[in-house]
Each structure stands twice: as structure tokens, then as C-alpha cells.
């Protein structure tokens, strides 16, 4: 493939009897913001760690920038920036010292390094906190520091592993905007998360993982086209009879309804003006309704339809791996 930055073929990784990655393959092109989406324990971080040669894997191959990735391939490592799930900074060094240190592992020239550090500081909005120690920073600022340490050396490939965990909404937005800006400046981004809203917001292409397997891959629109549901209409209505429900099910493009006594959810596949037809039924029978809204399918719907469960499982799934 042209301009493939990362090529993973048939990756298998086992932890004892547990298969963390099951013949996982992936190709990420230059200039993409590639999202790796999946619930906790699906194998996202395992994939990242294998990519970075931190973890040994049992089968398969990984190439980055056309070269085989190994622990001593420093040419590749120079071009990668990593922002890990756990904040990886020195508690004993100030914000400035931390960024300077990690940048210094990539850029040896002092003058250039200083410039890069200050740009990273400005980029992440940490200008007022240069002399602070990590213990004194809030969760959001700490995450920004974590990012600054990973991008200061202006890498071609940036890997972010769930960078917005425990981050306030303002910082989260800033982080997402920053990632898009980095992409516009030429970096290829690999972004893992189990927050589909973030992935939907910034990613150009997405792969959905579950139990170590890739279950779907494509642009957001391609993924949504994979599933039956193209529109979900929700109507607040009380005391809806079975007859009215049946009438709604008979409408064109409606394939399923759900009613819990207070809300009616109508699932449509294809077609246009589905909302108008549903509201006509209520008008005809002079049934009073409350709030009405129509939603386009989300990646969660894609995941739900393919796997039968939510991306964020409310019942609590396995947290062995992520």
C-alpha cells in the first residue's frame, strides 16, 4: 500500500491461555487520524505495546515506515511520539524539566531543543506552569504535560493511548483540538479510546476491536453503512396501545420498535421523512406526545449491532486487558 505508516499482519499475542490479540491485522496510512476503538479488555493497549516493541508477540509482523519494528530500531523510534495511558513523567522534575528531558532523548542540539520545548509548552497551554511539579497539577494539566513530553520533538507518528481518561471537559476539548492541529501539521495519529464520541469527532478512519479481533474497519460513514439502522426516532408518549405500535411497525423503512411505557423508540433502515410518517400516526389518532428526536447511528450502534453489546458495558466487563 502506498504511504503506509504502520502495517500489522496477523498479530497473535497470548497471556498464558488468554488470547489478547487474535490474528490482528491493520494498515494505517500517512496523514490519517486513525482511531482504534473497543471496550476495556479488547486489546487496544496490547496492540500499541506490540507496535512499540515493548511487548513480545507470538506470531505476526509489524512494520513502521516500511521497516520491521524492533527494540533497537532507533531510526524508527526517533520518528515516533508516544503518549501513554499512565502519566509517565518524573515527579521530581518541574514541567519544563520534564519536557526538556524527554525532548532531549530525541533532539541533541540544545538550541533546537529549547525551541521545540517552548513550542510544545505553548501548544499544550502550560506556559504558566513551567516551574510546577507534577504533584501540584490537576488531572487535565497532568495529561497535557504527558502529551507535551510525547510531541515536543515533532514526531511523524504520534500514538495516543487513551489520553483523556479522568480529564475535565475543557481540557479534553483542548486535547482533541490539539491532536487535529498536529495532524494538520503533518503528523499521522493513532488514537485509541473507548469513548466513541471522541473517535467520531476527530478520526478519519476507525477500526473497532473486540476480544483481540478487528470486527470492523473503515471511515465513520462506511462503518455506519454496515449496519441496518440508519435512523433512530425517539418519542415520549404514555399509554401507547399495541395497535398503534403495530401500525408504526407497518410504516415503510421501520423494522423494529421498543416501548418501555414512557418512550417509544423506532428503528428505521433507509428511506427519508421517516419522522414525518411516525408523527402522522400520532396526529391521526390524536395522541399527545412529549419530546421527539431523531438520531443518526453512532459507532456504538455499529458495535452493538455487530457484537450484541455496548462499547461501554454498563454491566461491567473484563478489565484484564485494554
Amino acid at each position: 500500500m502506498e504511504n503506509t505508516v504502520i502495517k500489522i499482519e496477523n498479530l497473535v499475542k497470548r497471556y498464558g491461555d488468554l488470547i489478547a490479540l487474535d490474528h490482528f491485522s491493520l494498515a494505517i496510512r500517512e496523514g490519517e487520524i486513525f482511531g482504534l476503538l473497543g471496550p476495556n479488555g479488547s486489546g487496544k493497549t496490547t496492540t500499541i505495546n506490540c507496535m512499540l516493541s515493548l511487548l513480545a508477540f507470538d506470531k505476526g509482523s509489524i512494520e513502521i515506515f516500511g521497516q520491521k519494528m524492533t527494540p533497537v530500531n532507533y531510526d524508527i523510534k526517533k520518528q515516533i511520539g508516544i503518549i501513554m495511558q499512565d502519566v509517565a513523567v518524573f515527579n521530581e522534575l518541574t514541567v519544563y524539566e520534564n519536557i526538556d528531558y524527554f525532548c532531549g532523548l530525541y533532539i541533541t542540539d540544545k538550541a533546537e531543543r529549547k525551541r521545540c520545548v517552548m513550542e510544545a509548552v505553548e501548544f499544550t497551554g502550560l506556559g504558566e506552569f513551567l516551574k510546577f511539579y507534577p504533584k501540584k497539577l490537576s488531572g487535565g494539566l497532568l495529561r497535557r504535560l504527558n502529551i507535551a513530553c510525547g510531541i515536543a520533538h515533532k514526531p511523524r507518528l504520534i500514538i495516543l493511548d487513551e489520553p483523556t481518561i479522568a480529564v475535565d471537559p475543557q481540557s479534553r476539548n483542548k486535547i482533541l483540538e490539539g491532536i487535529q492541529k498536529l495532524n494538520r501539521m503533518g503528523a499521522t495519529i493513532v488514537y485509541t479510546s473507548h469513548y466513541m464520541e471522541e473517535v467520531e469527532q476527530i478520526c478519519t478512519r476507525v477500526a473497532i476491536m473486540d476480544k483481540g479481533k478487528k470486527i470492523a474497519e473503515g471511515t465513520k460513514d462506511e462503518l455506519k453503512r454496515m449496519i441496518k439502522n440508519t435512523e433512530t426516532i425517539t418519542v415520549e408518549v404514555l399509554g401507547l396501545s399495541e395497535a398503534i405500535r403495530n401500525e408504526i411497525v407497518q410504516l415503510p423503512h421501520v423494522y423494529r420498535t421498543e416501548y418501555d411505557g414512557e418512550r417509544l423508540i423506532v428503528f428505521c433502515s433507509g428511506g427519508t421523512h421517516n419522522l414525518i410518517r411516525v408523527l402522522d400516526v400520532f396526529r391521526t389518532h390524536e395522541i399527545r406526545v412529549g419530546r421527539v428526536y431523531s438520531e443518526l447511528p453512532t459507532l456504538n450502534d455499529v458495535f452493538l449491532e455487530i457484537t450484541g453489546k455496548e462499547l461501554r458495558d454498563r454491566k461491567g466487563d473484563s478489565h484484564v486487558l485494554s
Binding site: 512499540l52 515493548l54 513480545a56 527494540p71 532507533y74 509517565a88 521530581e92 522534575l93 532531549g104 532523548l105
Partner: protein
């Protein structure tokens, strides 16, 4: 990149107030305790005091009585006899107020509660008296005309033994505790050594994971961090020796620069041990720290930090242990400087320290280089 990593390792460790503070304070505090506790011990141990003994007269023995009376009032007397009845004597023997009970009769008897040097000397005293009695009785029977000559020969001060002191240096063997304190401080450099692994290994910390992804080669990174740890430990050792010699006035001999050298090399050994322990296996930080601390304690125990004659016992039963026990090697190196006039032994000990350090560093590097993990 080497100097960049070195600079930040030293900076981060210096700012880890806990560790550096206690590595510096530890020998100071313990040194003070030792100094105060041992201040008078050597004098107490090596001075010989008259042995207190109870005297129970069962039958009148004027000859022996005169011997006892001749002792009283003498400055160099070797016994402190006190007359009392048997019940009191037994009570005082039980309470260690007296070391033995002398029963005066036709034949002298001695009762003691335990065997020790004082008791042996009491026995010797009784035997001497009995011996003289035997010889003079023999003389009286066989050659009565020579009895005076025999008595004169017996009571003459023979001065048959000329005492030669083997060394002019400090032979106070409580100084050994200070040598062991220096060794223990050196080995606690292992905490710094482990920190290198915590900062560099992906399975031990997120920081280690991040560094493993960077283009700095493991060799350079480890070399820089090891250098930093060793330099910091050199500082701690220098402070330790300086405090002991100049503040506590402990006599570590008159070849002080070499004492500093030995202490610093000991520090290197400590760091290398910690580096090795930090790089082996898959257990977490806390268990590793526990293992390292326990190993250091055990090594110092066998070097005689707690039981003073432990090294002698080890030398007697398991002599090779003293050659490979880093704590024993470090303390012995300073002892050698103190006691021997030449440098051969000292050189051997330094070489042993260097060898141990090199071995652990190499093993540690082998364990950590090009490492990928089955699980992090």
C-alpha cells in the same frame, strides 16, 4: 544524549529528598550512636580488675591466710577476697557479686557458677598455691637443706615472658563496627541502583515504558544512569567517612585518602548490586526493594555488624564467604589499611570490589538490554 540523561538522573535523584537525605543521614545517626555507646567499652574490656571472691573458712590454714592478707592493699592485686559464711557466699555467687567461693581447709576447694576467664584464673590461683605446697613438701622430704633455695626459686619473679605488641596501629576491635557501618552505607547504594531499573524498564514503571520507546539506546541510558547513581553514592560515602573521621574522631588509620577510595568503591559495589536486583525477574517494585534490603542486612550481619565476632566465626567455618560477601570485603579493605604496612591485601580487596561490581553490572545489562516483555 549520555550527558543529557546523566544530568537529569542526578537532578531527579537529588530532588528525591527522602532517599538522598536518608542515605546521608543514616551513617551520621548510626555513627553517633556507635560512638557514644562504644566510647568507654574498649577501656572497660581491656583493663584487668581484681576478681571478687568469697572466702569461707572451714578450717584454720594460717599459711593460706597469710597469702590472702598479703594481697590486700596491693595496687596490682589480682584477687579481692572477702570473708563470709557459706549461705551468703552462695547467694552472692548466684547474683554474680563474687566470681567464686574459696573454702579454706587442709586442701583448698573452689566453687564457681560458670566457666570463664575469671573462674579459670581463680582455679589457677588455687593450683599455684597447691603446687607450691607440693614442691616445698617434696623438698622438705627429699632435700630439706635445699628447701630455702627451692622456696626462693618459687617466689622469684621470673619475667620469663617478653610481651611484643604486633602493631602500632589502632587495634581497638570496636572500630570494626565503624568499618561495618561504612560497608552498610555503601551497600545501601543498592537503592539508587534499583532506581535505575525502575526508570528504565517498561515493566516496572510508565516512565520506563516511555524511555524504552525513545531512540536513546539502552546501553547509553543505563550507562548514564549508572554513572549518575555512582557519583551520588560517592558523595554519600565521602560525607560518611568525613563525618566519622573529622566529627566523631574515629581512628580509621593514617592513610585517609585510601579509606575514601575504599569507601567509594564500596559504594560502586552497592549500586551495582541494586542494579542487578532491579533487573532480575518480573516482581514489582515493592518486593524488589524488600529483597534488596533484606540481602543487604544479611550481608552486613555476616560481616559482623550486629554480633561482633560473626566475621571470625565465618572465617573459621565458612572462610570463602568472607571473600565474596561484599560487606565483609568492604570492611576488610579498611581494616587491611589500618593493620598492615603494605598494600597487597588492600589491593586484593579493591580488586574484589571492582570484580563484584563489574559482574553485577554486566549481568544487569545483559538482563535489561533489548528487552521485550511477555507482560507489562
Amino acid at each position: 544524549m549520555f550527558f543529557h540523561d546523566l544530568k537529569y538522573f542526578i537532578l531527579s535523584q537529588l530532588k528525591t529528598k527522602n532517599l538522598i537525605f536518608w542515605l546521608l543521614l543514616f551513617p551520621i545517626a548510626l555513627g553517633c550512636f556507635f560512638r557514644i555507646a562504644f566510647g568507654e567499652i574498649y577501656g572497660n574490656l581491656t583493663q584487668t580488675e581484681p576478681i571478687p571472691v568469697a572466702v569461707v573458712e572451714e578450717k584454720d590454714n594460717p599459711v593460706f591466710r597469710s597469702v590472702l592478707e598479703s594481697m590486700q592493699g596491693s595496687k596490682d592485686r589480682f584477687l579481692d577476697p572477702v570473708d563470709m559464711d557459706e549461705a551468703t557466699a552462695l547467694d552472692q555467687l548466684k547474683n554474680n557479686t563474687v566470681e567464686g567461693i574459696l573454702y579454706i581447709n587442709d586442701k583448698l576447694r573452689l566453687t564457681v557458677a560458670e566457666d570463664g576467664l575469671e573462674e579459670t584464673m581463680l582455679k589457677k590461683f588455687v593450683e599455684t598455691y597447691t603446687l607450691r605446697e607440693t614442691i616445698l613438701t617434696d623438698a622438705a622430704l627429699m632435700h630439706p637443706e635445699k628447701i630455702e633455695a627451692a622456696a626462693a626459686a618459687l617466689s622469684k619473679d621470673c619475667h620469663s615472658v617478653a610481651a611484643v605488641s604486633v602493631t602500632a596501629e589502632n587495634t581497638n576491635n570496636f572500630t570494626q563496627y565503624f568499618y561495618n557501618l561504612i560497608a552498610m552505607t555503601a551497600l545501601y547504594g543498592s537503592l539508587l541502583g534499583m532506581q535505575i531499573c525502575f526508570n528504565n524498564q517498561a515493566n516496572l514503571s510508565a516512565l520506563g515504558a516511555r524511555k524504552s520507546c525513545s531512540p536513546i539506546s539502552k546501553a547509553v541510558s543505563l550507562a548514564a544512569d549508572l554513572t549518575g547513581a555512582v557519583l551520588l553514592q560517592f558523595l554519600c560515602m565521602a560525607v560518611c567517612v568525613t563525618f566519622l573521621v573529622f566529627v566523631l574522631k574515629i581512628d580509621l588509620g593514617n592513610r585517609l585518602p585510601l579509606v575514601y577510595l575504599a569507601a567509594c568503591l564500596g559504594g560502586l559495589t552497592g549500586v551495582s548490586i541494586g542494579f542487578f536486583v532491579g533487573s532480575v525477574g518480573t516482581v514489582g517494585q515493592r518486593v524488589r526493594t524488600g529483597i534488596c534490603n533484606a540481602v543487604v542486612l544479611l550481608l552486613c550481619f555476616f560481616s559482623g555488624l550486629m554480633v561482633g565476632n560473626m566475621k571470625a566465626l565465618v572465617a573459621r567455618f565458612v572462610p570463602w564467604l568472607n571473600e565474596i560477601n561484599p560487606a565483609a570485603v568492604i570492611s576488610d579493605s579498611i581494616y587491611c589499611l589500618n593493620l598492615y604496612s603494605d598494600y597487597r591485601r588492600f589491593g586484593e580487596k579493591l580488586a574484589a570490589m571492582l570484580l563484584i561490581s563489574l559482574l553485577f553490572c554486566i549481568l544487569g545489562i545483559i538482563m535489561t538490554r533489548r528487552k521485550q516483555y511477555a507482560d507489562i
